[in-house]
């Protein structure tokens, strides 16, 4: 396996002060599905925009398929496909016309384009709607057309920026199915960004956890979860003193420093440990008010590496950094 995308010390500064991407380095291997997981405003789209030649780099370097994105943008453009976050298919053309336009822009010979258009429309289940104007399509259909367009020139890397944003649960499942099918049939490299945990978990071979412009962790979903060191038991205990040492000893796990009267314990086989923990607290005169057990999941991975849950991160960025980033991006786009 060799790296098809190489990113070195990448930095993007908007308006001279906002560090949207703050020195990231990573590689994407050929044939893998690689995902960026992070809240809105984490720098995911900014990174994708730089890799796909849409945005200038402040510092660092990017190579795609061996080509430097700043020195040979056209070579890079030839080997990548981008399915952007917004719906950009042309409303006033039919589905097939949209595909044909894309084929012409990528210089796919007519005959071949014809074949591929039929094949791709079948792949994304748009065969019957192919000759209808796109303005009559639903959101899910547009997104599927967008995906098919991104594939017309058989790119070696396909970029999916929030591929299921704004789609309902069923349509999301259909998109995942398409992406898996693609990967199985063509061994294409897929780079996706998402702020949906399940999406990253079920689709990606490797995940980069990205927050505030930095990569906080990078590994396979399984390994990331294993590294958490087991299940999480959260307890609320009323009583004198600090129970954290007691709890850690009782189950041979790790206990975070108490947060008010709440304790967070990391332990393997949590369900077997709960009775033991309850007994030890009760023996020492404490009163357990509540207990919860959580299996390792990516939200906890996120919490582990960023110090906050993904949902909290979403909320805080919406009011703060996310908004500033959105403004900066808007201004960058205007130029």
């Amino acid at each position: 396996m060799s790296a098809i995308i190489e990113v070195r010390d990448l930095v993007k500064v908007y308006n001279g002060s906002i560090r949207a991407v703050d020195g990231i380095t990573f590689e994407v291997e050929e044939g893998e599905i690689f995902g960026f997981l992070g809240p809105n405003g984490a720098g995911k789209t900014t990174t994708i925009s730089m890799i796909t030649t849409l945005l200038g780099i402040t510092e660092g370097a990017i190579k795609v398929g061996g080509h430097d994105v700043e020195k040979e943008p056209t070579e890079v453009r030839k080997v990548i496909g981008l399915v952007p976050q917004e719906l950009t298919v042309d409303d006033d053309l039919t589905g097939r016309e949209n595909m044909q336009l894309q084929a012409d822009l990528y210089d796919v010979p007519r005959e071949l384009a014809h074949e591929r258009i039929e094949e791709l429309l079948r792949l994304v289940d748009l065969k019957d709607a192919a000759d209808r104007f796109v303005r009559t399509y639903s959101g899910g259909m547009r997104k599927r057309l967008e995906l098919a367009e991104g594939l017309i020139h058989r790119p070696s890397v396909l970029f999916l920026d929030e591929p299921t944003l704004g789609l309902d649960v069923q349509t999301r499942a259909v998109m995942w199915e398409h992406i898996r099918k693609l990967k199985k049939e063509s061994n294409m490299t897929v780079f996706l960004t998402t702020h949906y945990l399940e999406e990253a978990d079920s689709l990606c071979d490797r995940i980069g956890i990205i927050d505030r412009g930095k990569i906080m962790a990078l590994d396979s979903p399984t390994r990331l979860k294993e590294n958490l060191g087991g299940d999480i038991i959260e307890m609320t205990v009323e009583g004198e003193g600090d129970f954290s040492n007691l709890l850690a000893q009782a189950c041979n796990g790790e206990c975070n420093p108490r947060d008010g009267n709440r304790y967070r314990i990391k332990v393997r086989n949590g369900e077997l440990q709960i009775p033991r923990l309850l007994r030890s607290v009760t023996d020492q005169g404490g009163q357990v008010l509540s207990v919860s057990l959580t299996r390792p999941n990516l939200d906890q991975v996120f919490l582990e590496y960023t110090g906050r849950s993904l949902r909290d991160a979403e909320q805080s960025t919406v009011t703060n950094r996310g908004e500033r980033m959105a403004q900066a991006r808007q201004m960058a786009r205007r130029r």
Binding site: R77, T88, D104
Partner: protein, 284 residues
């Protein structure tokens, strides 16, 4: 600088120009408007503003043919000039689609494709040129047809040897004119990202361009300072050239050769500016 494959670039330009034209002719109301507007202008403005009658009534010393560039009446003078005005008005909005494409993300789809950046404005320019020429030809036909409607004045092409070559010359003149104007307005649209601001700028520009030219009124009756500007307005070059083709014993401002050369320089400069602006604006 990377090499551009000309054949591929032509295919890409064709595909994008086709998209622009599809947007235009598929919306029936746009087609209707495009042809109703010049009809109204010719029908109302052209028939009502009998500047020739006015000139005679005021006892102006100038014979009509002299005042109106050799045209037998004001309507004939004005109808030929109207062809250039139609071109101007069609081209002013040629860049509007870029603003929408930017807003809906389609422009990014083009930017991420392996196409030379200049193709993005050039396809809009070519689509506008096609529309402008088609509309101008319709206006020409309507204006001549007025001759055969009782009670109306029509465009009287007095050049007795008028033939296919003359028609081609007229098309050539209008082609150069529309290339230049479409390129200016596409370049403006590339740098303005808000459609309301763009509309404002377009409206600010198009009327002054029209009135400081020989398109609808002879520059001879303008004050000196205005005439010195108006005589070098591209609309004047075009209208002046067209009249020399249409009318016997035309009284021209410049020679036909100078008019065509002026237009060629005008369109060349603005097409070049359009491409440079596109490369700068669309890079990131």
């Amino acid at each position: 600088m990377e090499m551009i494959d000309l054949k591929v670039a032509l295919k890409q330009t064709g595909a994008l120009t086709g998209r622009e034209l599809k947007h235009w002719y598929r919306i029936k109301i746009q087609l209707v408007l495009a042809f109703v507007q010049p009809l109204l202008w010719l029908g109302l403005f052209g028939q009502a503003f009998r500047l020739d009658a006015l000139a005679g009534g005021m006892g102006g010393g100038m014979p009509i043919e002299l005042a109106f560039g050799g045209a037998p009446n004001y309507f004939s003078y004005m109808a030929v000039g109207m062809l250039t005005v139609i071109v101007l008005f069609t081209c002013t909005f040629s860049g509007l689609s870029i603003v929408w494409d930017r807003r809906f993300g389609f422009l990014n789809k083009l930017r991420v494709a392996p196409i030379p950046r200049g193709i993005i404005p050039m396809s809009r320019v070519l689509a506008a040129v096609t529309r402008a020429l088609l509309q101008a030809m319709v206006v020409l036909v309507i204006a001549v047809a007025f001759l055969y409607v009782p009670g109306l004045v029509g465009l009287d092409i007095t050049n007795s040897s008028f033939g296919a070559m003359d028609l081609l010359t007229m098309l050539g003149i209008l082609l150069l004119l529309s290339l230049g104007f479409a390129a200016i307005f596409v370049a403006i649209a590339l740098t303005i990202t808000n459609q309301d601001v763009l509309m404002g700028v377009v409206n600010l520009l198009n009327l002054p361009i029209m009135f400081t030219s020989a398109a609808l009124f002879p520059t001879a009756i303008m004050p000196d300072w205005l005439r010195s500007v108006a005589n070098y307005n591209p609309l004047t070059f075009a209208a002046d050239g067209l009249r020399q083709v249409c009318f016997e014993n035309a009284v021209s401002i410049h020679s036909l050769g100078f008019d065509v050369l002026g237009l060629a320089v005008f369109s060349l400069i603005f097409v070049a500016i359009g491409i440079v602006v596109a490369i700068k604006v669309l890079k990131y």
